[in-house]
Amino acid sequence: MKNLRLLFGLIISLSAFPAVAKEKLTVLTAYPEDVVSRFETAFERAYPDIDLVVLWRMPHDALPYLSQPKQGGVDVYWSASLGNFMVLKNQGAWQKLGISRQGLADQLGALPLADPDGFFCATETAGYGFAVNPAYLQSHGLPTPKTWQDLADARYQGHLALPVPSRVGFAPMMIDSVLQQYGWDQGWAILAGIAANARLAESGATFITDSIGSGERGIGPAIDFFTASAIANGAPLQFVYPEPAAYSPAHIAITAASQHTDAARQFVAFVLSDAGQKRLFHPDIRKLPVRAAVYADKPDGYYNPFAAADLHPVVYDPVHALPRLALNNALFDRLFTDHHPRLQTLWQKLRTHEAAGKDERLAKIRQLLTAVPVDAKTAENPAMQQIFADRSTDAKAEAKARMLEQSWRQEIDSRYAEAEHLLKQLEP
């Protein structure tokens, strides 16, 4: 049995040997481990002479980190935070990418995929839509929604989970995409109907997927990759992209302070390469590549935003949305989060009366419940937007924001009180 003998033990060279010198490249990101680990491993195989070090910070924490002298030693910033890329560009924090963009589109409809000055570019995008539990819809006799307008329909009352944009990271742009698609006033009116149908969710996107997957609710507006990944891992869910869909791109940039520009460019080029972009198809990632050609090798059923945009051109521009997101968040909370049980009661009564028959007061009540205390023109005012954008870091801005919110509260309360009064008149 000489061949069955067990093998030898551990072998070690205790005299530490000098490794072949590797160039250290530091990447700051907010991607989860599922994404980071796969790109780390693939990049290491492609570039064994580069030692990739990954640091992690949420966008609001990354901005001051990258604004400090020497930019914290970071060479590459890679994150889904368009605002940071634009602010840091204005600070002179980036150097030109200087890579070939052959095969990479500069636009997806209205959505820019590259900084016009070449300082950063999109590496992937994610779509907004509806996480759906088909079994839930079937058991409740509900059709699959196709548009945001659909979600405001009375038949979905009690069947939605809607993330609160001031609390859930992906939600502000999603909410703004409704406003851009439908216009300011109609957009808020649709959101009011959706909020009336929904449980408001203040946890992250995994909560939406958990909530819909468990059948607690049947539909959850969300960003696509959480649900798409859950589906790829076996969850009996569906993700519906409204037509046209809206997208949130992630970007990449090389810091001005980087001393490893060549390695940084190699990393950027790798992320944008065929091999890098196809990594996004992995069941644990499920992001949408920005290199259109790789969709030729997409898994079955994988959504192709370029093909979708041919049919329904993208109208949402996140660059336009950014300045007003904080204002939107405040409006959402004052309109819906603060009054949610009251809002739901009012809508339930309104819909009951609407279903029962026509009364000229119903249109007035609906108008009272869907009106927004800031008009479209005011919402576009940069000074107004800046008050809310600065409120977390500027006491004066916070004071102004609170004053404005107080006036909104009074206006909303007055409208709801009038709606309650009119609804009472309609009672037999």
Partner: protein, 450 residues
């Protein structure tokens, strides 16, 4: 049915009927998807579930170098191995070793010590590098160095002529930043093990573990518990966690991993993981004290305790049944105990009285020179390892996209893993090698059903 009878029936081969007679535990879930290691037991209170979800977020969190605005998730380093628990336990499953010296250890680490014992009888940390090589440092602090691995292949011929190539790892330390390790250093490479089912293992009573040791002796193996220092209760206790069962409780195991792998302090490990010689490390700021609050630690504990384990699949497949019977007949079940019943567990009563199928006895066994790390830890000798649970092992390839087994991932498939068994397991290994090829395949098919 008494617990002792359950164990003895399991070891004597009346397993299938026994399993059929047991009510399914709410901790076993019929799920073969890629999320099968990540299911939270739904039969818990809303509060318990909410805490478990908070724990899940923390387990999945990539941690931030302090100072940082996000204080709740700050505290990485000054020295660390990875940013996230999931780095070494992807999808709550198993990590993997590098394939060649060019690749870094991304879900694996190397424990260090010197000959001797610490004040409680545990391994003696290296005076400069501590008890684990932290390959990474936060900006301004040098990582401790790196470990490169390559493999030497040796072909083994089984009695029926089938050949199997086994690979022996060879480790080299490189770029050591704090001086040489010294010739007497003891080191032990470890791949991150799965983290589901740990609550159930914690709920197995001491009495059951001792009975398993006695039952094993009747089967010709000499497993013994590791008596370790329970730092929370300040007394010796039977160790259950860690590859050498060197940690008494799951809470301590979690806190140990946070400080050891990520440099995140907790009430159980209030000091950063810097030795006296690591000046920059000592001067590096902490996020807060402790960085992982007790509430956060308990949330992670709650999550891990409530994770379900995948139920067996294809148990009625004739080949699986044949493999199961052979698994028992050749002696594998003497250590890989198929059926256990948990004891009373007041901390989380849902874990009490559960019939489980972990395929471990939680005991230390001599596994021979081939697998020896020669690094004792409490009463675990340099050739001894705790019997690893086998539940869920058949889903590894689907969930973790590899099939590397054993403590250092040297085995590339289950057959290689079995053939690496030595020491007390050598007779069982030889019986496995002596089976017909068809019966060996049946044993593997059985393992794949777990």
């Amino acid at each position: 049915m008494t617990r002792a009878l359950v164990i003895l029936l399991a070891l004597s081969g009346s397993l299938t009927s026994l399993q059929a007679a047991q009510a399914a535990s709410s901790f076993e879930i019929a799920d073969a998807t890629r999320e099968a290691y990540s299911r939270i037991n739904p039969e818990v209170t809303r509060e318990q579930r909410a805490e478990a979800l908070r724990g899940r977020s923390l387990l999945r969190q990539s941690w931030v170098v302090p100072p940082a605005q996000d204080i709740e998730i700050a505290g990485l380093g000054p020295l660390y191995n990875q940013l996230s628990c999931l780095s070494c336990h992807p999808k709550n499953g198993r990590g993997q070793p590098p394939e060649n010296p060019q690749q870094a250890m991304r879900s694996m680490l190397v424990r260090l010590s010197l000959p001797g014992l610490d004040s409680h009888g545990g391994s003696l940390p290296h005076p400069v590098y501590g008890n684990q090589l932290n390959e990474q440092g936060v900006p301004g602090v040098s990582g401790e160095g790196s470990v490169r691995v390559d493999y030497r292949e040796e072909r083994v011929t089984l009695p029926d002529g089938e050949t199997v190539s086994l690979r022996t790892p060879r480790y080299q330390f490189a770029d050591l930043q704090y001086g040489p390790l010294g010739g007497d250093v003891q080191f032990s490479p470890r791949v991150g093990p799965p983290v589901f089912g740990l609550g159930l293992l914690e709920a197995v009573s001491d009495q059951t573990i001792l009975q398993l040791a006695e039952a094993g002796r009747q089967q010709g193996v000499n497993g013994h518990p590791n008596y370790v220092w329970d730092a929370e209760r300040q007394r010796p206790a039977i160790g259950r966690f860690g590859l050498k069962a060197n940690v008494a409780t799951l809470r301590q195991q979690i806190a140990g991993a946070f400080i050891g792998d990520m440099g995140i302090t907790s009430s159980l490990h209030p000091k950063e993981n810097c030795t006296a010689a690591q000046i920059a490390c000592k001067q590096s700021p902490s996020a807060r004290q402790p960085e992982l609050t007790d509430a956060q630690l308990d949330a992670v504990l709650g999550y891990l305790r409530l994770l379900q384990v995948p139920a067996r699949r294809n148990a009625d497949d004739p080949m699986v049944r044949q493999g199961e019977q052979t698994f028992i007949a050749i002696g594998c079940a003497a250590c890989h105990a198929p059926v256990l019943t948990t004891g009373e567990f007041p901390d989380l009563p849902a874990l009490s009285g559960q019939t489980i199928h972990p395929y471990t006895d939680l005991l230390l066994h001599d596994m021979g020179d081939g697998l020896a790390d020669r690094r004792p830890d409490y009463q675990a000798g340099g050739r001894e390892w705790r019997t690893p649970p086998l539940w869920g092992i058949g889903l590894l390839e689907r969930i973790n996209e590899h099939s590397y087994f054993l403590h250092d991932g040297r085995a590339r498939n289950l057959t290689e893993a079995v053939l690496w068994h030595g020491g007390e397991a050598l007779p069982a290994r030889q019986r496995f090698a002596g089976l017909t090829a068809q019966k060996r395949r049946a044993v593997i098919r059985f393992l794949e059903s777990l």
